[in-house]
Subunit: 341 residues, 6 copies
């Protein structure tokens, strides 16, 4: 299995502890994360050679991020360490029950937001790759990042590499003067797999907004088809179904459409939530793993995506730390949580 | 909006961490709290100028409590720092699931319990106030505190200030030789708003005990009316409905009666419980906020009280740290816990 | 009430904190535990004089374990401190929700596994005892431990002491070359009370495996009878009913059979789970307490076992730290979790 | 060796962590301690059977203190658990360098301060004892405690038990209306061993104050002799020499006088200081151990006292946790701090 | 005593714990600080009414900083909360022994760096002030901050308010295109009190660099006189003498020159160092306190500055938390670190 | 620069926190370390490609160790993951001042102790290596480990690779039935560089014990020469000079002898000690770095070794985390501990 390359920002995450509010906190827990890096870590844990391409500041914080990449067995061969730069930061206030978690971004002017054209030699980077993954966060950071993403996608497309995209809309980003619909359609032309809500896809593609009923599976194909029409290289589109009972209780399901049929995975109860951040990336990683493997069906792929997403909610930090064995056990068991001893 | 003044003890709270029992603990988390102070903090967070009147010992612990008052934007202009005194303490063993939390009071001989007549110049303190709030904990501490409370209530009444009371019965207090029914009736004469269970009100007023069925709304007016009869200045009485499924799962609703009609708020599921202490005070603060505002209806007021109470359960410590925006979001949303990002 | 003696290994438990996975942990919480010791602590908390017989290494870790025994009011009069030895260790990764907890044993070559014949003078140790308790973990550790257990059981039997056994099957043990059915039948000959699943009992006794339906109470006597037949001294057998909804949510019930009638306790919801380890031992202790007491019925005994087991899930660490009063409150209350203040 | 009995209060100690000031602290580290208990723990660690006689409140905090007594192998056979009482508390702000530690007492009205005559059956308690130890803190707490101390001392004297006293003057105590010189002379009549500064002894005995120069050994006997004259049963008096370079650096020596000769131990450098509290009690315990043993000379006794005191500064909490082997190693070595491996 | 106003940035400080390096850290301790704010807090602790003027982002982190200002009794009446902005951050790796602490700034684009002309109405802000304090950090942040500082200084000068300046050179700042000597001379025209090394003053004023020997007091006046010549309003200049034996051991003294005479304070040993950051600001605050008070001599003023600086090293965080009483005790005592009890 | 390969055990280190004794600890800090791995990490931090060869158990603890190797940029290409095995553990009680740290080994039966012949293909592993490093700990673990070490050394010798050895005598090891002098002479035949005390070398080589005076440099060559005679391939021998003032204060120097001349580095004061463990390995790494580099003199090499050793004492954990820049700064500076900002 040749490598999966992901491209995106790795941030320093500073989160409050034990559900404290910001004004109560005397310390922040320190981790690193970012949508595309999270996917790479998940895949590495599944045994897939993976790499993250990103920019980090050449200082002690950037070097610590680099160590985390190495620790998690993701290749950092093409990570750029940028002088006189800063790392993007996000502050996370962890909610509970009826109080939502709150993310405060402080990522402007980061090494990744200021990426300059030519920083990455994509042809070289992607020459051994089988798959390239990016998400809608990268073009939302800055004009520069959006341009570099387009460059990467074009090269990947030329090289015949499978391209997957997680739409990942963040209302607190897209602050650099462009709207998603001005940027995303061109980028999504090249995508073979898209993960996202139908309404998010429409929004990013500049279509009229709808409010799809995911319970009614029969109506979904026609809604997905519109995306397929606008994205000529699209092969499969998947959607994470998430019902947020509370910050501590989620219901997770998933749908995959291959242009012909709908495959849906059962809704699973997820409670309590140890850490909800990155659970969409875990879904993406489960999906990529399934689609990467010749012997895994679409149905199994969407099941794996849901399993990976559910398990992520039990893992502290941005990225999933579960094995394929954990995924299989989840899928095959009706009862969870027996102590293994 | 002129200020709300509350009168009551602020205690040092020493709680076990991570659900440990006392005998397992190597440290106590340190916070401050007290029913009336908690109400003041909540109101300050809602943007209402608020003040707490209390006695604290003039030592490093008392000064730390004073800093917390200031930090939370509550006026400490009339806090008395008492020499050679002690702060009231309560030890809290935080329960979980079917194991209840346990409060151990060590508040005898505190600066507040030993308050002496004339300590506070109530006419001066209340001259700019619109609202005075006290709870049934103050007269339960000591004879002195009960007398000072009566003094305050009389002055407030003379000045035409709205007076609210949270009945707040604590079986582990009232140890100084008087029963509630010997003290409370006189105090409650002056109350315009009472928060409490009907049976608690009857108990404190010396009436025969009943066991009201709050599901049967039609029967409630006649039960409340008896309280109205005994408390001539009463305008509204409210009751928090609390069903304790477990220490980690509560169901919260509320009822408000204005002498004519019943207004009830829907029962909400509260799980998990980060910290249950002070959730009644949060209810009181939501109620006061609604009743203070000319443009907020009784129905909205009781809804706000329930919302404030529910959200408090997700906040560590004695007092609520939520904004009006958080309250509104809670009231207007069916789904809770989406990450804000 | 004369003393209860238990025999088994006390391990150092090293557990990850705040649901972290091993690879995320920078520290381990340190406690001690072991099935039979856990039973002794529970009983001591119920006011029953109890003692644990075990081997510990004569080093600082062994001495710390010894202090924990003393702290918990369990007699350590016959604990053997062994030179140049090690303590058994188990690493615990605490799960959450759909992710199971994971136990990693590192207990080979421990002081207890290497126990040599004659280490304990059982006739002396048991002379004041009324009850002897052992579990299926002890003979699973090593051949030596199995032999010493047999020695103890024989002496207890001769002395007319009641013998209870928790079958406690651990698939990660029994690594020393013998299968349970080669060892357990002889040991179980002497048991008067057995706690365990019916299928585990059959497995250990070398019977054909079955999958009993515990919902169908009518069918159970005949299944239990087979065990009674093979264990001639058996008076009562009990089974913990555990449905694992998730690592954070368990449903607990219990069944007791006295050779004539079935006594079953209602299923209780247990959520969240603070610590699931040792909840079976808490069940055992509740059961022993009931059966020890002349004035406690079988029905009450199984109710106490379930109550003890449920409450244990709210207690951090291996052993239960609840009082008889806590057990009574649990049994008599429909609503849990009210703050005691 | 028969047992040593000590009599005094055990307090809950709540200390700030990592040198924080009170106003910075979010938690307190929780331990227990008290001068006479500290001596008992030290002696137990040296292998001497020891017991503490005290009153504790019959609540969860009192029970936790009781567990600590048991854990540390000190007999709690005669500890009184008092209903509706409180434990004495002291808050400790741990200094560093040029900033002193600060103790804030909150021990009025404690179970021990309110001890009533007849609580303890001294004749029974002391019947197996060889040694009775009390300190000047006990009569400083309250009139009741002073009276009970006198009762104990009289019985001990009648029974011919050796009586040792640590003068332990605390300026923040003695608040109940009596001065030391009104209480201590009668108590000290019975003492066989006194530990304390010469000026403190004079002060407590109502003598004119002096400022002794401990460097000039020749002048000391005449100063000590005055104490011997006033305390007819005195056999040896010892003084801890403490030079406080900073809160983190102390110099410790000691002097012993037997009515004839001066024995002095070399000054030792103690830096850094992990915890200075209880180091005087550690000195006392070292001294008692030496004087208890027939084969230990006065010179060795004072050396052991100094060694015990120095090592205590490296131990967190109120009481010393070192063995006789640690003491010997300290005395015999010029170089400290080599890793043992 | 009318108020002291300080102007400068308040940063979020994120520091590693227990001397860990960045790459070992799983959490950051969270505090706030900034040179001029630190001075205001120190003065408030000395009982001087003080205020900080600054810009903070209008988000949860900015509001938490605001609460810290209030908690520490510093007026925040003129703090500007800026939308869509960020707080300046500095990461602190706390050294030990021969390993230096390391500061990593991430303060570009902060609310304060982007301050715009007219943000503050200085005439209004300073109308009740007696003293205005700024440091060389403010003009080092950005061109905007330098301009606002000049505006403030001009108004203060017009209003006849005493102006003090701490030169505070930071090599990692001054990155916006101007050198100190291009900006500082104009600003320093207005200063009445300057704190700084002589060589730093020369450097900032564009003079040739020298390497003064502070041991030779006789030579100092002529060196200081040059600064007095270039700063026509200068009345006193002071210098902190700091000898860094190691990150854990500093030697601190101070010199004050009033244009006529040299006043020097003895060198003090400072070890261990709990937190060295902000010790210069503590020096400044001690100096301001002395110079503010009519009855405090120059000699006493420089002694207070040194005492304040020394004590700060024992306090965690950026600002000093000691009282005047602590300062007096330091000055008057030869021995430090006795426990107060 | 081609790679340095080290061979040795990596242990799980469980250390008490904040200088607590074992019996006070509720948690252990978790790190990994081992003499030869520590050297590899140090070298990697200096920019030298390095690799560790070892056996780890194939379980979650072993995998976590593997992640630490990767994080620290040391090659794990030849690490063997062994099924049904355990990791060696050492418990560390961290001393302070006059109380020594205490190491408790629990490493028998570890994956490394049980290494079997043929596990490692040394010819393949070493083919790209320039340097091979082992220490006296490896042959002290078990007969198997000693044999595998000999195999490695022979191959390295054949391939003409430089071989360095740290004698590292541990009295608590060597428990498998052989004495050092039975094993070490053969192994040391191949060493080109030896680090160790002269008396340790004599002891391991079976020579009569001496007590060298390292102050007298003139006498040292003849003492070293004896080792050179017995180790025919020896080119340089170095000795760490360590004077242990206390557990918190060490004095460190070093001596290097090349068969002709003595090169000695000045004694440095090291206080406080954050973590003393692994400081010898840091010395070794500094020495190797110097000797590896053609342009670094013997004098500079021993200076670097001492600098590396001193700085290690300020770093928590087993291995040094400093850069070449840190080393250079240490060597070139008289004053330490200035904040870099």
């Amino acid at each position: 299995m040749s490598k999966v390359v992901t491209f995106g920002e790795i941030m320093l995450r500073l989160s409050t502890e034990r559900h404290l509010r910001f004004s109560q906190s005397k310390s922040f827990a320190l981790t690193f994360g970012g949508g595309e890096f999270n996917v790479a870590v998940s895949l590495a844990n599944f045994g897939v050679p993976s790499e993250v391409v990103t920019c980090l500041p050449q200082n002690e914080i950037g070097e610590t991020a680099l160590m985390e990449i190495r620790k998690r067995n993701v290749s950092s061969a093409n990570v750029q360490m940028v002088k006189n730069s800063r790392i993007g930061i996000y502050f996370l206030e962890t909610g509970a029950g009826t109080r939502s978690s709150n993310v405060l971004y402080d990522r402007a002017h980061s090494a990744m937001a200021n990426v300059t054209s030519g920083t990455f030699n994509w042809r070289e980077i992607l020459k051994d790759a089988k798959w390239f993954h990016w998400s809608g966060i990268t073009p939302a950071i800055s004009d520069n990042a959006a341009k570099e993403c387009l460059e990467a996608v074009k090269v990947a497309s030329e090289l015949g590499i499978t391209i997957s995209t997680d739409l990942n809309y963040r209302s607190k980003l897209w602050k650099y003067g462009k709207e998603p619909h001005e940027v995303m359609p061109e980028l999504l032309q090249y995508s073979n797999i898209i993960l996202g809500d139908i309404d998010t896809a429409y929004f990013m593609l500049g279509e009229n907004q709808i409010n799809p009923n995911y319970q009614n599976l029969n109506l979904l194909p026609s809604l997905y088809d519109k995306v397929f029409k606008m994205c000529p290289n699209l092969k499969t589109m998947a959607t994470t179904l998430r019902y947020s009972v509370s910050a501590s209780h989620q219901r997770i399901g998933g749908i995959l459409y291959d242009g012909k049929s709908i495959y849906d995975a059962d809704i699973k109860e997820v409670t309590p939530v140890v850490d909800r951040v990155g659970s969409g990336d875990a879904f993406m990683a489960g999906l990529i793993y399934g689609l990467l493997s010749d012997d895994i069906s679409y149905q199994k792929s969407i099941n794996m995506a849901v399993a990976s997403c559910c398990l992520k909610h039990t893992i502290y930090g941005d990225y999933n730390l579960v094995s394929l064995k954990d995924i299989e056990r989840f899928i095959n068991s009706d009862s969870h949580g027996k102590v293994s001893r």
